[in-house]
């Protein structure tokens, strides 16, 4: 049992090893190659996404630059082609403004002429801004320093976001400015309708992080500017980077600078969105790897299981063969043991024979002498006679025992001989009578007379019946009972039935009783070999042995002995003496 457990453990660990090796060899290359390909793909895809973003950014920068320079050119041309005197006339200016509006629709909100002191000396537009002083505003200060100037977006006096472009000219040694307000909406449209993927959009900030386009709550401009400054991105014409925003979302930024680095155009897109296709591809690839791996694992298990099953079956066969061999040698040993016991017994029997013979004869001699006249009157004569008779009787009993021992010894070999089953049974009953008596068991016989002789080894047949009778006695050890030995002719064969009325054998055990090493006797009491040896012997002579049992009623063994001739029985090279 122990051996079986450990061997099944061996199979399990073998199975584990085989499965492990198959899985490793099958899955590792797949995983490694997939990872490599995926990595390459990711790198090239990222490059593609970055390129696309940069391209977009550059294109838009160009658009915006063009828009702004166009507007500058428009008012530059206006300033150049008209004299200061004309332009500082509000009526004239209004005329020009109407022309501009006709040409560019709503791009220009208003225009005005500002003198060197910052006073608006002419104005054309929807607001009442004539005579307003701009000398303290940032844009005026900026405009005075450069021939062309574009302001940041601000609300100014009108309270709506707008920005101003200016050109500077001189009249009589003093600078004056032609300024135009650009419609914020018009400008904003340039950027606002830019969409990249699902989450991508664009906006423009100035260096301080103020929105130059429609502000969006999705963006924290201060933080972004801080990052950009830290990255030194403002000094480069364009750059692209990833950054995790406050919400923990990773965002891809493409940055280009406008207006000589004063404005920053930002294209931003969620990384998840930008790489959605990549992620999808990755997911599909992982799924394929997973399914493939599962397939490999399942295959590994199935194949290994079958393999192990084969191996264990082969082992089992070998084990059974080994066991059979073991039984055979056990049988040989048993026979040999019986043979040496026989030799010993015969020696003892011979030695005892003579003293017993002398004892009997001496007793007889005393009897003879008692016949004489002088003893006839002795008062103890009767008692003497009784004692002598007793000595004689017991002597004869000894003689009988030695005879039985000798006949047992004579047969301790497996040579095939002609034997009488009935005589054999009688002898075995005699030999086991002592055990039967102690076991409170009665042995009854129903032997058919004049059975034909059979050819078999007497020792072995003795072993068969001895085993069966001893088993029956053991089975009824506690309760006692009756063993019935029946012999009869069945066709050409002889059937011997050994029946007891003991406790019987459970159905579950009945099928296994002929298995070697199967025993229900307590440890040390039975080898589990008796019945399997019987089985072997009976089968060897071409016979059959069957067991029937009813729980609580008893067990019956039927032994069919073929009535064969000497030549039919395979000779076994086992000599008893």
């Amino acid at each position: 049992m122990e051996e079986k457990k450990s061997s099944s453990r061996d199979y399990r660990s073998l199975l584990k090893k085989v499965v492990f090796v198959i899985i490793i060899t099958a899955i590792t290359p797949t995983v490694v190659v997939s990872m490599f390909i995926l990595n390459e793909f990711r790198a090239s895809y990222q490059a593609k996404v970055y390129d696309h973003m940069e391209l977009l950014a550059r294109k838009h920068k160009k658009n915006i630059d063009m828009f702004l320079s166009e507007k500058l050119m428009d008012i530059g041309w206006l300033a150049r082609s008209n004299r200061f005197e004309e332009l500082s006339n509000s009526v004239f200016l209004n005329q020009k403004f109407v022309e501009l509006q006709r040409a560019f629709e709503r791009t220009f909100v208003d225009i005005g002429v500002v003198d060197h002191e910052g006073r608006q000396i002419a104005y054309a537009g929807p607001y009442d801004l004539f005579g307003v002083k701009y000398s303290d505003t940032d844009w005026f200060k900026g405009a005075m320093t450069k021939p062309y100037f574009i302001s940041d977006v601000f609300k100014g006096l009108r309270g709506a976001p707008h920005f101003i472009i200016t050109v500077r000219h001189e009249h009589q040694g003093k600078p004056w400015i032609l300024r135009a307000t650009i419609d914020f909406g018009e400008f904003n449209n340039l950027v606002e309708y830019l969409r990249i993927g699902k989450s991508g959009f664009a906006f423009i900030l100035n260096k301080n992080g103020d929105f130059q386009t429609e502000p969006t709550s999705d963006v924290n401009p201060d933080e972004l500017v801080k990052v950009l400054k830290g990255d030194n991105a403002l000094n480069r014409p364009s750059s692209i980077f990833r950054h995790k925003n406050q919400e923990g979302k990773e965002v891809l930024y493409a940055i280009t600078t406008l207006k000589n680095g004063e404005w920053i155009m930002v294209l931003q897109q969620d990384v998840d969105d930008a790489f959605a296709e990549l992620n999808n591809a990755q997911k599909i690839a992982l799924l394929i790897i997973l399914i493939g791996s599962l397939g490999s694992i399942a295959t590994a298990f199935i194949v290994s299981n079958q393999l192990i099953k084969r191996i264990s079956m082969a082992d089992e066969e070998k084990h059974t063969a080994d066991k059979e061999k073991e039984i055979m040698s056990q049988q040989v040993i048993e026979t040999g043991k019986l043979a040496s016991i026989g030799e010993l017994a015969s020696g003892i029997a011979h030695e005892i024979n003579n003293p017993v013979a002398i004892m009997i004869e001496e007793a007889g001699w005393i009897e003879d002498l008692l016949e004489e006249e002088e003893f006839k009157e002795g008062e103890n004569l009767e008692e003497f006679c009784r004692a002598l008779k007793q000595i004689n009787t017991q002597g004869k009993r000894c003689k009988e025992i030695t005879h039985k021992l000798l006949s047992f010894a004579r047969k301790t070999d497996s040579r095939i001989a002609e034997i009488s089953i009935n005589a054999l049974l009688e002898e075995i009953i005699y030999l086991s009578s002592q055990r039967a008596k102690y076991g409170n068991t009665e042995v009854r016989t129903q032997l058919e007379k004049n059975l034909p002789p059979v050819f078999a080894s007497e020792t072995e047949m003795q072993q068969v019946f001895m085993n069966l009778i001893n088993n029956a006695i053991d089975a009824m050890e506690k309760t006692g009972g009756i063993i019935t030995l029946t012999s009869k002719r069945v066709g050409d064969n002889i059937l011997v039935i050994v029946a007891d009325n003991g406790p019987g054998i459970a159905d579950a055990n009945l099928s296994r009783i002929f298995d070697p090493f199967y025993t229900t006797k307590p440890v040390g009491k039975g080898t589990g070999l008796g019945l399997s040896i019987c089985y072997g012997i009976v089968k060897k002579i071409g016979g059959d042995i069957q067991a029937h049992s009813v729980k609580g009623e008893g067990t019956t063994f039927e032994i069919l002995i073929p009535q064969n001739t000497e030549a039919d029985v395979p000779a076994v090279g086992m000599k008893g003496d």
Partner: protein, 133 residues
């Protein structure tokens, strides 16, 4: 016993050969008491010596003895006294040897230990056979 009335006048001369002294002695006593004239030998050599000294009608020979094989003794006895009828005593289960003895000229065998009456019967039977044969 009744049958042996005619032998009373000339007692049957019997030679007992067995290396078991006690057995030979007690058997001799009992047989002498039954009108046999008994000679005792505890070995083959003693038997041959006795046989040289006087004649015997029947010999009872134990086949299993220390100094010499019973069959050998039988052969010599038959050579020394072809008229002598030999009854063999064998151990149980030694029928083979007994059968060989018969082929060597022994009359019959008995298994040891045997009943005295059985032995006497066999002796008389053998003697009668000799007389007639």
């Amino acid at each position: 016993m009744s049958k042996k009335e005619d032998t009373l006048s000339t007692p049957l001369r019997l030679l007992l050969i067995d290396d078991e002294v006690g057995y030979v002695n007690v058997l001799a006593n009992r047989l002498s008491k039954r009108t046999f004239q008994v000679g005792k030998a505890n070995s083959g050599a003693e038997a041959f010596q006795l046989l040289r000294q006087k004649d015997f009608d029947v010999a009872v020979l134990d086949l299993k003895m220390e100094d010499m094989d019973g069959i050998e003794i039988l052969k010599i006895l038959k050579k020394m006294a072809p008229e002598l009828v030999v009854i063999m005593l064998t151990g149980h289960g030694s029928a083979e040897a007994a059968r060989e003895g018969i082929s060597q000229g022994a009359y019959d065998y008995l298994t040891k230990p045997c009943e005295l009456t059985e032995l006497i019967e066999k002796i008389n039977e053998a003697y009668a056979q000799r007389s007639t044969g």
